[in-house]
């Protein structure tokens, strides 16, 4: 049984906020909305000491502080241990530079993706667990840069890395790719080696470092209109 995750929601569009809190998140077992606010300022004024497991915030919150800045503020104050960024824009590369010190996890979801409760659940739990999680809709439109470090990966390794970026566990990946968990672990180890990440370095979460490098070394393929 998963532990209950207290979540703070910050979203300026009232309809979306209402539906997110009452319509969707209430359907997720083990997820509880601790409080909901329209703006960053409202949160900081009305609940200056509020702590929760996850902050779920829209990036664009109007004229005041944006959601990313709010997330950085709460994460650095250890008031949340995970952040899920919601946006109408496809900018997952933001996560590549997000600070993960102290085990803070980050997720990036498009607003149109939250209706997929599985994806929302993965993002919330992945962020709370200190992972980097990217909307699957977005990773579908990412491809490795030609000269980047991902160019050394095999297609299987790329596939597994993409699923890691989507917040999937090894078990989950193994089920999806019809592999044993041990095989997946082996592929993950190969990925870590191929990306020259030292898993024993202090303060490094190898899985998070792999996803961060994935985000830095990919670009969108979707043509601009």
């Amino acid at each position: 049984m998963n532990a209950v995750l207290d979540t703070i929601v910050v979203e300026d569009e009232p309809l979306y906020r209402e539906l997110l809190c009452t319509g969707l998140m209430s359907q997720l077992p083990g997820i509880r909305v601790a409080a909901a606010f329209a703006t960053a300022e409202q949160l900081l004024e009305m609940a200056p000491d509020l702590r929760a497991d996850v902050l779920l915030t829209d990036i664009d919150l109007g004229d005041g502080e944006d959601g990313y800045a709010l997330a950085m503020r709460l994460a650095s104050a250890r008031r949340v241990r995970g952040v899920v960024l919601l946006s109408n824009f496809a900018m997952p590369a933001l996560l590549a530079d997000a600070p993960t010190t102290g085990g803070v996890g980050w997720a990036y979801l498009l607003k149109t993706s939250v209706s997929d409760l599985g994806q929302l659940d993965l993002a919330l739990r992945g962020a709370a667990a200190g992972d980097l999680v990217v909307d699957a809709t977005l990773t579908d439109s990412l491809e490795p840069q030609i000269t980047g470090p991902l160019s050394n990966l095999t297609s299987r390794q790329s596939e597994v890395l993409t699923l890691m970026a989507n917040g999937w566990s090894n078990q989950h990946i193994a089920d999806a790719l019809v592999l044993s968990v041990r095989s997946v672990e082996s592929v993950v180890s190969d990925i870590i080696r191929a990306l020259s990440i030292n898993p024993h370095e202090s303060g490094i979460n190898a899985r998070v470092a792999c996803v961060a490098m994935y985000l830095r070394s990919t670009k969108r393929t979707q043509p601009r209109p």
């Binding site: 309809l15 409080a35 329209a38 109408n88 900018m91 149109t112 209109p225």
Partner: protein, 701 residues
């Protein structure tokens, strides 16, 4: 009195003029005695040349340490010293060659004094001419072309901006309004799941790229992240990335224009199949952007004005945050030299009095004229000469002061002709006075000597004084022209920035309304479909197509940015002034049920602002046993006849609980929302509910 004279670096010109005048004077006034004519001419010419050489050398004597760096002191010191040494040389030479003609000692002193006075007078006039020429050149060669360029660029910018405005309106109409109306019609006959997918596809495929293209508000979180979202790789140092993510790399305006430029390269790359490679380097207080693989686009007027500049093939620079310099405001246009646009340089024919020579300068002019009272070769100085000399000094000075006083009183500029007449009058008055004094003291004045005196004063007083005043008027005129052109230039620059910032503000508003009010609402509508709340979803969609977007288009067509900004506002309680009628019941409710009370007031205020554009709201609380009554009255406009409770009304239902009720009505010019609820029925909810949502929720649908 304020001194407008510019004390220029001492120069030889006054001494050259004095030397020529001296040769002329000696040739016409001296008796050559035993010299033959050629020897006489050579002698006086050589004397003047030697004097000039001494004066030129004297001007090089460094007086900085003695006179520090004050220009006025330097001016007086250099000219005075050079004149004194020159006069001594002149007198010595004349003595040596035998042309001194045994003049008295005081006459020699007078020579030194009058030469110094004349030097100062000529130097002062030369200074005024230099000031005039400098300011006229500045206006003609720099400011005027600069103003013309700014005006020209402003015209281009205006046209570009107007075209963009029209294009934006067409784009919103064709790419948002019409497709949404069509979507509304299509999804009426679809299942909720199908409708949700349609709405999501519209957001993903059309609205998101469009709102980002109209104004890349995504750059708010960083240029590099926004470029990555567009599929453009950027190579740069970690420090640049860090500055960018902290918003410390570029000014917002520059950031947006740079984003537009780089994404236009990305578009080129997609057309040609090449992938642009972009690197960012900080160099000389600017961000250098190098593009390889594809040919970058040229900079447009807005980008140039934003400080971006081409520095090489495929390379541009953009000013770092706070380092902006308007390059087009300092450039000199090649194609604009003969343009009739912009300010013209004209030297006014009016006399403002602004640069009139000071009174002491006119006193010097009078002093220079005084020894001409026919005693220059006379060793005897009697009362007649003293009184006449004093009069010839005082009369012009007094009349000059009178002339200035009159000019100041009139407060309007006189013509230069009137000023010339004044000086003729001063010359005549002085000469008449001097002649009258001489007659009074018994001198016999012939018509010829009278005319000679008059002519002398007209030459020495009227001409010198008039020329000094004319040169001063010219200098003042050029200075005024410079100030006017500089002001027009500043106004044109301010106008440019207003156009540019208006454009960005408008573009930002369009994008934010599309992004925040339409796209986010559509995302909510998609959720409503996912949750099988089809009628609510359609009502929300109808509000976008029949209210929000038409209002946006009208506001943009009318350039009513204030209205557009209002559309962009997600209403909240902070937009309205709330008054509370103090009562014990109010205090109890506020302290015992803060979240419930806060939600009611917050929602009421947000709806009053959003739907009624109310400015004030009054809150009253009463208690009747177990029942609470909360009334929120606002001064917003009347409710639409077709209003009906919508999704947000459920929050009120939740707030008042199963036993309570709420109503909305119009009483006179006031809209009243009244809540009635039982304390016991809401108590548990208020204390236990972990997620009472704050902020704005819609009430009227």
């Amino acid at each position: 009195m304020k001194e407008n004279h510019d004390w220029h670096e001492p120069r030889l010109t006054p001494f050259v003029i004095l030397a020529l005048a001296g040769v002329l004077f000696m040739a016409t006034s001296f008796d050559p005695w035993e010299f033959d004519p050629w020897t006489f001419v050579i002698a006086i010419t050589a004397t003047s040349l030697l004097t000039l050489t001494v004066e030129a050398s004297a001007l090089r004597i460094p007086l900085d340490r003695l006179l520090q760096t004050r220009p006025r002191a330097q001016w007086f010191g250099h000219y005075g010293l050079a004149s004194a040494l020159g006069s001594i040389t002149l007198i010595a030479c004349l003595e040596i060659i035998g042309l001194s003609q045994q003049r008295a000692g005081f006459v020699l002193v007078l020579v030194v004094i009058t030469r110094a006075a004349n030097t100062y007078i000529i130097a002062y006039g030369v200074d005024e001419l230099i000031s005039f020429r400098r300011d006229a050149d500045l206006a003609r060669a720099q400011l005027k072309p600069s103003l013309q360029l700014i005006t020209y660029v402003n015209t281009r910018l205006d046209k570009l901006t107007q075209d963009t405005y029209r294009h934006d309106i067409d784009t919103i109409n064709d790419c948002v309004m019409k497709p949404l109306v069509a979507l509304e019609s299509t999804i009426q006959h679809q299942t909720s799941a199908q409708a949700a997918r349609e709405v999501e596809s519209f957001i993903d495929d059309q609205l998101r790229p469009l709102s980002q293209r109209l104004h890349p508000i995504a750059v708010k979180v960083g240029l590099i992240a926004a470029l990555a979202a567009e599929g453009i790789d950027v190579r740069t140092a970690p420090v640049v990335r860090e500055m960018d993510s902290r918003g410390e790399l570029l000014d917002e305006l520059v950031q947006v224009e740079l984003f537009r430029w780089i994404t236009s390269i990305g578009a080129t790359g997609q057309t040609t199949g090449a992938s642009p490679s972009i690197s960012l380097i900080i160099e000389n207080r600017a961000l250098r952007i190098d593009v390889t693989t594809v040919v970058p686009a040229e900079l447009d007027a807005r980008q140039e004005i934003s400080g971006m500049a081409v520095v090489g093939p495929g390379s541009i620079t953009a000013p770092l945050r706070g380092q902006f310099i308007d390059q087009t405001a300092v450039g000199r246009p090649q194609q604009m030299q003969d343009s009739k646009d912009g300010a013209r340089l004209h030297i006014t024919s009016r006399w403002t009095g602004e640069n009139d020579p000071p009174v002491w300068m006119i006193a010097l002019v009078a002093l220079g004229a005084a020894p001409a009272v026919s005693f220059i070769a006379n060793s005897f100085v009697g009362p007649k000469v003293i009184v006449a000399t004093a009069a010839s000094f005082l009369v012009p000075v007094v009349l000059y002061i009178l002339m200035q006083w009159r000019q100041r009183r009139r407060r309007s500029d006189a013509s230069l002709g009137l000023m010339a007449l004044w000086w003729v009058g001063i010359g005549l008055a002085t000469s008449f006075t001097v002649v009258a004094i001489m007659v009074v003291f018994g001198s016999s004045i012939t018509l010829g000597s009278f005319m000679a005196e008059v002519a002398r004063y007209l030459m020495r007083l009227s001409l010198f004084g008039g020329v000094l005043t004319l040169f001063g008027a010219l200098a003042a005129s050029a200075r005024t022209t410079v100030a006017e052109v500089a002001e027009q230039r500043e106004v044109a620059l301010a106008e440019r920035w207003r156009t540019l910032t208006d454009y960005h503000e408008r573009a930002r508003l369009i994008a934010e309304v599309l992004h925040r009010r339409v796209q986010s609402r559509l995302a909510g509508i998609a959720l409503l479909f996912h949750l099988d709340q089809q009628s609510d979803a359609l009502a929300q969609l109808r509000e976008i197509t029949s209210e929000l977007l038409p209002q946006l288009l009208t506001a943009l067509t009318d350039s009513d940015l204030e209205h557009a900004a209002h559309l962009n506002t997600v209403a909240s309680a902070k937009h309205i002034h709330i008054e509370y009628r103090e009562s014990p019941a109010l205090n109890i409710l506020r302290s015992e049920h803060p979240r419930l009370f806060g939600t009611m007031v917050d929602e009421c205020a947000a709806n009053a602002y959003r739907h009624g554009r109310a400015q004030r709201m009054r809150v009253e609380v009463t208690r009747d046993g177990n029942w609470w009554h909360v009334t929120c009255s606002n001064n917003g406009k009347a409710l639409d006849e077709n209003w009906r409770p919508g999704l947000g009304a459920r929050q009120y239902d939740d707030a008042v609980g199963p036993d309570g009720s709420w109503s909305m009505s119009r009483v006179g010019a006031t809209t009243v929302v009244a809540f009635t609820f039982r304390a016991s029925s809401v108590e548990n909810d208020d204390q236990d509910s972990p997620h009472s949502t704050n902020g704005a929720a819609d009430l009227v649908r």
